[in-house]
Symmetry: D3
Subunit: 331 residues, 6 copies
């Protein structure tokens, strides 16, 4: 069985103000694309893994461009569909110093939200794949998206793929009449690797959290397929200076990574997705502790790169894990 | 009675690809703002007239920025409202040579479309105003927008303002269950100056057109308030080269302006709005023929300016009318 | 009585080199506008207060553009006058690391310097206003500017406005034959809130300073209208890293704010103006200590924003005061 | 048999001065990628055909980026190889008005020039393909490149593909000890569609040209596989204004397309490649005359697009062929 | 005797709006430098001649940068002086289509205007020089500048240099109490080659012009040193389309150059200076008619280049004279 | 004897990705120029010393532009030669945070590498010069470059110039069949001031290093001309944060400078060259300890400036040495 990774989810056009300009100052926007799941897939593609992303874009030039962004970054796009509808958007003002970063979403009624995916041949999608990754954003978008994901999970599960889920609870979504507890537990049931902090446990898994490790054991008991639960711990000294470490519960104990000082932050969006991609790569190739260190170092490097996606190679991440070439000038 | 002009209508955020890039090439967008009615108001403000625009924006930083664009260009914004909802958008790829320009609209469900304007004090809005301008885009957006406009027209009419209307029939709008013939005739009934080509006559006024002048007389008979009907005639040799003249029926005869060769076009969006603004200015200050020449010259100059709005002064327009300083270097 | 704020003073066109380029490297300049008093007014407008600025610009497109900058940022510009003369300019090279920032002024003989303002209806200017703010830069520019300011102060005083003054002693100005001690004491006499460090006390108020608190009491005795004296204390570790706190003498005691580490500075110009705007807002809305904390936090946030003006909202400042959302990603 | 198209050839990094700047003025370069054969493949991919390009890039980040450019524009890159060596470069100064455009090549000793391709499985390359396109640039680069191409031609021929060749004689290449007459005739022998002007006939096919039609018949007699010979006729009024038509000899007669005035040229590089791509598409889908009109219109549209590649769709080309929507604003 | 050329005059910092933006739209300015005489010198330096320019800049980083611009473009700067004062500026809005270009000057009280040049060793300046070029702008700036120029002319004349003068009458200058007829005749008396149109003859040489050729003979009689009088004839169809020819009276007859259609103009500023530089080069190297054709072709090419200076080589100009490579793509 | 400084060496075109973009993201490159020796010369020119650089560029517009860069920054370019061949290039991706900076060189077979310099009149080159600086990069490029340098050293030595050498061992160069130990000792023999770390001692001087001071004494014994040996010690906390001090052995003892925290690094390329330039200036003007402090402070300031060259003035460096105006806003 190969190591092809399948992801599913919406990709938005990201419009961000240049340099340190506020929304009120910007007359130009830099455009790139982002979505939690595609961010993971792109990072894995940079690590050399085969990845295919399932999504729908509007059937116009903006959709074509978004799809070409995925191809450009190494994803297989044969399961990208073009449908009537609009492109989900988000506007980003990067913070700096004590000033926070701000996102204005404009993603409702997108082509993806209205996509039922009835024509998808899921056997073909998962052919030769070993891992399937999803996030809690997809079922929060629309009933159709939740149904689509459930269908995918059933097939992936029946084929024996490893399934990872970033719970990623977002209060602002879930506008279509269902709440997370109506939907998420059934989806989580299929999953083996879970990214969850306290808010995720409570809102999506109905687990009250006093102690995170206890919550992990409780989750395992409620959702027996779970093998790993993970999260990052981020301290925000300022928009330009964070402190980050990774935490991984492996069914037995809670592992912790090194703690990194991240100063001179360029772009923190996608830092969590970079962590998950690192963890998937790590769990596929090394042991638990190294996987966690790899994931955390990958996330750290993401903060130095403009855009949502973590465009770094395996060697670069391992160099940081081993404190090698850090910030050097490599000729 | 002063010469304050009132306009109403949606303003969209305009995202256009820089230089000659296609949508598929652009990673940066220039952002400005445009809406047929606000374009007219801004042009009139550059001519030195007092103008106030009635609209609604989303209650977020994008809305604030759009409003500051109106202030920056001289409009009074005391009747700009901030409401829940999204900003209407349009994406623009400027054509060049034989390649056409392309617009992708993304304007449904905007804050303006959902704005009922119940809190507007229309007496205050029209206080000291002599002219009200609207377009057929507003009633095409939503029932609420159509109702809002009707309310405004009734007050404006009762206060004796001159009312102008750019029929501007757009097939892609009118998605809310009503057709133009359900709505437009009642609105047109209040109006004295009409911008209408054949498609407008047929779709919005139920007048079949063999000869435009005949149609004008028919319109006058169906809508007795009408005093002027106008349009431009544009030949498109290429995206960089158009030929333009203005035509004005003044109840008696059809006047024609000079014909202009417009080569090396910079931005043709808003050319029609510039014409109307020129005509309003002209009708307020001079005779019919000069007004028409002024309107056409104003429209020609718009093609040299990036963005939707015609940022030229009265003297510049008259210089072109009088063939003075054309393309010179003025020190 | 409303809370409208009136300010007066010159606005210069600011040309700054992009990114970290030195003057010797730059072939492009970013253009914005700045002036100590208008910076205060713009900041107050962002806080939601009504503000009107009195100034003169050259009667050409550069003046028009500068005026539209004020409108864009929320100021009332009915008391902006267009006169013969030139636009004051300043060229800015932003420092970084240990390298200092540099300003080259080119502001002599500006339209404002030659403006006598005889046509100003000062009663109209101050109608509905509660606060008047001026700085020591205005009387340092020219005799006409000093006279204009004195006239304004007399009216403002007679109408019972609160008057604040940023002494802001600049050795390079005062070129028209008068020294600060010839002019400033009379002007300060009208003022209630004073921004003054040791150099200001000595050069403009003829008060020798051993201890700043003592000097404040002395000032109160010399200028009995004074109720508050304030200043910031800035330590410059590098151009990218400062340490800042605010200090306020309220007639009784010296209050101090939290001290902030400001690293990754984007633009420190206007930091003092942001402090004063914050203090004015604070004194109008809260108690002395909170006002001081608000002022200092406002100044800190300014350092994260390109340009002279502090484009932040009240909630953002209070968030920083309360150590909330600092440097977070707000969705 | 499907319609997959195979191309082979070097892709260079193209560095062009922005706007109208001369080499002596530019401190910034726009980077894109181009190569005669890949340009053809990308254009065909935009037309909706499956295309795969065979090439070699340096095994560094510049090579990776170039390859991602191909993927982004729709090419299959499974036959892109990464090898030691450098990236071929070309520097471009776009002309304007009477000033000519200038290219400085820096392409010697590239990874492609030194690539022997021994590991290529040519059966796999041509699997499912119906057309193979090559140009005279490849055998002019190096002996290895000439050998590689010959190998490809033999396999393509044995599998019955249609083979097209753009002779494209370049005096500045051919530096490795062989002349075009040593190499080209053998390669041309395999080809069915030939792009050749007088200089190509003389230098690469040893055919003296008095009359182009006569030369075509002679070529057919010397190279019996030839079915079509084509060229464009370009008049250069200025760098901003050309006149273009296409010419096609189909074994029986010489067909001519409409002549186009091309004013306001944006970028003429790749105009010939766009023509060939159009002709291939046309010959695969329509009759000879329409194919020629399609090819010429495609080439015209290329001149409006920055970069080497013709990013237009089939409908856009047919619109121009049918004089529809020319230079319009399409909403 | 070598062919070193000496020029004298002010250089201003030129701030121009990017692309086609109006002053009211620009938030960024492109910065370059220009002055009628230095423009001539730079053009001659590109032609391969040795040139040295005499001027004064402010003694700050802006002056240093301006001087480095001269060096960068090949001038000898040993006679550039740094003095107290400001940099002369001009703001440029490039026109397009029918919209005129606009310049706002801000050059009064510059370092050059206040420079008496007492320390200049004129013998050293003119050592090895064969030609001295000045314009009527210098004596129009200030009494000091007029005196400085007169001193230079006396030395140049005594050393037998050829002296050329572009009369270049500018009504907006001449603000220091003298009129052109007070000053210019004495200066013109030293000159051999004169650029003069009707307005120049009348305002600076007191010669009424009915017929330009007659005026030339009259000028020769009034100023016996004159050998050549020249001018260009420019028709302005639009800012993007001019028609240009050169005219040269050589003491005997009036020669005319080819007439050029100049469409798609990039930047017309400096077109006259390019003509003069071309004429100087031509008179130094060829016969009268060829010199005139060379001058006109040089001026045409200037219009394709952003900035004041004509950055073209001798071969490029001769190519245009001979209608060779016009608008081609040169590889 | 004057203080003219002569340097020799290749200058490359430097293409660096804008802002923080990775190679894989950049579609635009900023272009500047750099070479270890020219960087030193430019820095010395900014300090007010006369400098002349000997090099060869390709005989095309890229070479001309590179030469104009040298002139622009104050170098004498009379010994710059234009020859057939290509321009050496390097591509730079600036790191940030923990992410390293990366350089891709593309410098083989450059015009300089193939330049034998037979036509150079070395007596003229060194006329009036007091110092000659070279680096170990030049002899590593090609046999011709090594021979050229040796010739220069012989003349410089015979004329009694002080000679400094930055050993600068680069493993990736030295591809022409000779190793550093074949070539370097002879060259070092002529030199008085040496920049050498452990790797340089071992690879180029055949001195094993346990203790750097011991190695210095050993070097003195092996190469009796040596008077000073120097190096910097850099700690790389991240790409944005380094720690730097300078070290100088003066034949008697090892001196150390202050240690600087360098945070918010803008561009670290050329930091070593800035140090050497500072040291040369210091040794020419002050005592050993001050020279070392000057050199280190100069290097620190370089990190704040984009590009290879240290564009700072003597006063700025001394200000930092004396902890004056550090990071201030200088008006």
């Amino acid at each position: 069985m190969g190591k092809k990774i399948i992801t599913i989810g919406e990709i938005m056009m990201r419009m961000n103000t240049p340099e340190h300009l506020r929304f009120s100052q910007a007359d130009t926007y830099h455009v790139t694309y982002g979505g939690a799941e595609a961010n993971v897939a792109i990072s894995l593609a940079q690590f050399g893994l085969e990845t295919s992303h399932v999504t729908a874009f509007p059937d116009n030039d903006l959709g074509t461009k978004a799809s070409s962004y995925l191809r450009q970054n190494g994803l297989d796009t044969q399961f990208v569909y073009f449908r009537e509808g609009r492109m989900g958007l988000y506007f980003l003002e990067n913070g700096s110093m004590q000033r926070a970063s701000r996102i204005i979403y404009d993603r409702f009624d997108s082509a993806f939200a209205n996509f039922d995916g009835n024509e998808i041949d899921w056997d073909l999608v998962f052919e030769g794949a070993s891992w399937f990754h999803w996030t809690g954003i997809t079922p929060a978008i629309s009933q159709k998206a939740a149904d689509l994901l459930l269908k995918a999970l059933k097939v992936a599960s029946s084929k024996g793929l490893t399934i990872s889920a970033d719970i990623n609870y977002r209060r602002n979504l879930w506008q279509y009449g269902k709440g997370p507890l109506d939907i998420m537990p059934e989806l989580i049931r299929y999953s083996h690797v879970i990214v969850a902090g306290s808010s995720d446990f409570e809102n999506c898994m109905d687990i009250k959290v006093n102690d995170w490790a206890d919550a992990c054991f409780q989750a395992k008991s409620d959702f027996p397929n779970i093998r790993y639960i993970t999260k990052t711990k981020r301290e925000s000294i300022s928009a330009s200076h964070n402190r980050l470490k990774g935490i991984l519960w492996n069914g037995k104990e809670v592992l912790k990574s090194k703690t990194y000082e991240i100063t001179h932050i360029v772009d923190r969006v996608g830092g969590g997705d970079a962590f998950i991609a690192g963890l998937i790569y790590g769990l596929l190739h090394t042991d638990d502790q190294v996987a966690l260190e790899f994931a955390t170092a990958a996330s750290v490097l993401k903060h130095s790169i403009p855009g949502d996606a973590n465009l770094v190679k395996v060697e670069e991440v391992f160099d940081l894990v081993h404190d090698k070439n850090v910030g050097k000038l490599l000729r």
